[in-house]
């Protein structure tokens, strides 16, 4: 089945249209700010200042962005395979268990540079394991992966509440959380990198899992566009029928795609747990799994788009915190609205402006809109 939309030049497809979609999302968000009775431009100014105004702020922005790069990549890999992994939230949550396992066992024994790789493996394995059952059910039993991953989010939340309240909590702790990790399970901070550029960064949670996130972005790019497996994933995502005809196994592709996706989502747990809090707390994922959906859609499932999109959302999180301080009427929940609007306009309504852009391009420069060759064929 061909798409009912004609092809646009690449710059319009990957630049203009996403930008338009984003613009509309922010315009609508501005409308909400107006309804609340504040000045949207002023709010935007405070937000940008709060996200990038000082070295300290930039470090926080990048700390949040780290989470979203992981979850964004997770959603994107699944998208390439034609699967919608809405379970990043639960996969990351359960992966916290893997991190805890490594940290609590070895934090007194090994230095961080031994524990970090171990924790990467453990978090990826737990995240992948939590994606395994939905993947298996989709591949073998044909049950809809969206529904099963939603269910697994809730199950993960219940499991973690149970474990943190009844099992992992040391008797002397106040809240439902594990004991604090020793130095061996604390990741080095990256604030000094920003200080090289002349910024002053006091204490921020910005840590080396950011580098891991960037590494994963490159790895995902290489996987999807430079390996046989990536080609199979894309083929399956584009047309399962064609993939089957080409001898690409359904079950294997679905399982592998989801395992990779779950592993990426799982690695997100490293950043807050080993990088910042040094303990596993209730709800440490705080919606990052869902932000990943917005990030993947905005970044058009390409790492080169996902990293800036993640930084944008990191900026919204950090700037939003400052904004809530300056304008109490606009709490951090504003980001949830923006997230929803971005998902709506960059995702569900991504084709809304396409006909307009097409007409505009056609009247300005017929050749770029691809109309000329079509006419030539007609003759």
């Amino acid at each position: 089945m061909s798409t009912p939309y004609a092809k646009l030049p690449r710059w319009a497809d990957y630049g203009l249209i996403p930008l338009l979609n984003l613009l509309v999302a922010f315009l609508v968000a501005g409308l909400v700010v107006l309804i609340v009775g504040e000045n949207p431009l002023e709010a935007a100014g405070i937000l940008v200042e709060g996200a990038f105004g000082r070295g300290q702020y930039i470090a926080y922005t990048l700390y949040y962005a780290t989470n979203f790069i992981f979850t964004g990549l997770a959603v994107a890999v699944a998208f390439h395979g034609g699967l919608f992994n809405i379970g990043g939230e639960g996969q990351a949550y359960i992966a916290g268990l893997g991190v805890a396992l490594v940290a609590l066992s070895f934090d007194a024994t090994f230095p961080w540079w031994v524990n970090f790789p171990l924790a990467i493996l453990a978090s990826a394995a737990m995240g992948a394991a939590w994606a395994l059952i939905p993947a298996y059910l989709q591949a073998r039993r044909g049950s809809h992966i969206v529904i099963t991953t939603i269910m697994f989010n809730f199950i993960a939340a219940s499991v973690m509440v149970y474990l943190l309240v009844d099992v992992l909590k040391p008797p002397e702790a106040m809240g439902p959380q594990t004991r604090g990790f020793l130095e061996g399970a604390q990741l080095p901070k990256l604030g000094w990198v920003l200080e090289l550029f002349g910024a002053t960064v006091r204490s921020t949670p910005f840590n080396i899992s950011f580098l891991l996130a960037l590494l994963m972005a490159v790895a995902v790019w290489a996987l999807i566009w430079r390996t046989k497996l990536g080609y199979e994933i894309r083929t399956y995502g584009f047309s399962p029928k064609a993939a089957r005809y080409a001898g690409i196994g359904d079950v294997r592709t679905i399982m592998v795609t989801m395992l990779i996706s779950g592993a990426l989502a799982g690695m997100m747990a490293l950043n807050p747990i080993m990088g910042s809090e040094h303990r596993v707390q209730l709800d440490f994922v705080t919606g990052a799994g869902f932000v990943g959906i917005a990030v993947a859609l905005m970044g058009r499932s390409h790492p080169a788009g996902i990293v800036p999109a993640a930084i944008l959302f990191g900026a919204l999180y950090q700037g939003g915190a400052e904004l809530a301080f300056e304008m109490p009427a606009i709490s951090r929940d504003m980001i949830v609205i923006i997230q929803g609007l971005v998902i709506l306009f960059a995702g569900a309504l991504e084709h809304m402006f396409r006909p307009w852009v097409q007409t505009a391009l056609a009247s300005l420069a017929p050749r770029t809109a691809g109309l000329e060759p079509a006419k030539a064929e007609g003759r």
């Binding site: 089945m1 009912p4 909400v32 309804i35 609340v36 009775g37 919608f84 809405i86 059952i133 059910l137 039993r141 049950s143 809809h144 969206v146 529904i147 099963t148 939603i150 269910m151 697994f152 809730f154 199950i155 219940s158 499991v159 509440v161 149970y162 009844d166 869902f290 959906i293 859609l297 009427a329 606009i330 709490s331 929940d333 504003m334 980001i335 949830v336 609205i337 923006i338 997230q339 929803g340 609007l341 998902i343 709506l344 995702g347 569900a348 309504l349 991504e350 084709h351 809304m352």
Partner: protein, 322 residues
């Protein structure tokens, strides 16, 4: 377990099942027409907020209900606009609506009422409260039927009776009317419906509007019957349990009711027996009971309890041949 506690448990079951039932039936219309809707939770939340806000300002429960239905329908139409008109991804659109509702109810609630995201507490005459049915007191003494009638059937709110009334009504609409036949057909084979000269678009829009109306009522129940006002995030994932119930019931109205009652019972049971050791089983963690509806749904989806086959054209936007 004494008869009294059983009655109370069943009464609580009915109360917590009502929003599930309304939301699940709402989803039934949309999904039967081929439009997947995971935005039930968001629409319910927006409905609850609107009902709470409007009832607080006007003092009228009915105006609250009306406004809640309007807002939920508006959100449903956004979903329709994205997934029917623009053929966008229905899951993505549903996710978007959940977030927009979750964020804006808190922001607007805080801006308008400044009570940390709640709406003001409502007096009883701005709510839908329990209605004593006739003879509830007179029949109390009759064995078996008496207590059941006076404790469980009587004393529910108008919206609860509406919800259970919607079950046979939905069955009748779906299986005994022309609209219902077409609705089911458009969810299975839209091309055939189109060939018969019926607009796929308009049919699906009507289904989505039905979804909006019922989610609005579900939200109103939460804000004006179960509670006295809106509390932030008050749906607490009920929209997803409703979705699970709908799948569990294989997209059929009467089984949907039973699934909602089952999940409602689990919820009521978990609340009542928190941390109490059950004979023969020992202490069941409350989290296990909370996760049970989701677990059951996954097991069902895995094909171990029958097979849940969704409407064939579900999730697929219809592209008219040109």
């Amino acid at each position: 377990m004494s008869a009294d506690t059983l009655l109370q448990l069943l009464d609580a079951t009915i109360r917590v099942s009502v929003p599930l039932l309304l939301a699940a039936l709402a989803g039934l219309y949309s999904e039967r027409s081929g439009v997947f809707d995971i935005g039930l939770d968001g629409k319910m939340l927006a409905g609850a907020f609107t009902a709470g806000a409007v009832a607080a300002v006007t003092g009228s429960a009915w105006l609250g209900l009306l406004a809640a239905v309007l807002i939920a329908v508006a959100l449903a139409l956004v979903h329709g606009f994205a997934s029917i008109t623009h053929r966008g991804n229905q899951i993505v659109s549903g996710v978007a609506i959940n977030f927009i509702a979750a964020g804006s109810t808190i922001i607007l609630g805080q801006a308008w009422f400044a009570q940390g995201g709640r709406t003001p507490s409502l007096p009883n005459d701005a709510r839908f409260v329990g209605i004593e049915l006739p003879f509830a007191d007179a029949l109390r003494g009759v064995p078996l039927i008496g207590p059941v009638y006076s404790e469980i059937v009587s004393g529910q709110t108008l919206l609860a009776y509406f919800a259970f009334g919607m079950v046979p009504f939905t069955w009748w609409v779906l299986f005994r009317t022309r609209f219902g036949l077409r609705l089911r057909a458009v969810g299975e084979n839209p091309a055939a419906v189109d060939t018969a000269g019926i607009s796929v678009t308009w049919l699906r829009y009507r289904a989505v509007i039905c979804t909006g109306v019922l989610t609005g009522v579900a939200g109103t129940y939460l804000a004006l019957s179960q509670n006295a006002g809106f509390v932030k995030d008050m749906t607490a994932g009920r929209g997803f349990i409703a979705l699970a119930a709908l799948i569990f019931a294989k997209w059929k109205p009467v089984p949907t009711m039973w699934a909602c009652l089952l999940f409602g019972f689990l919820d009521a049971f978990a609340i009542r027996y928190q941390g109490i050791a059950l004979p023969g089983i020992g202490r069941v963690p409350v989290q296990f009971m909370q996760a049970l509806p989701y677990l059951l749904t996954v097991i069902l989806l895995a094909g171990f309890i029958g097979k849940a086959i969704p409407p064939r054209a579900g999730g697929v936007p219809y592209v008219k041949e040109r």
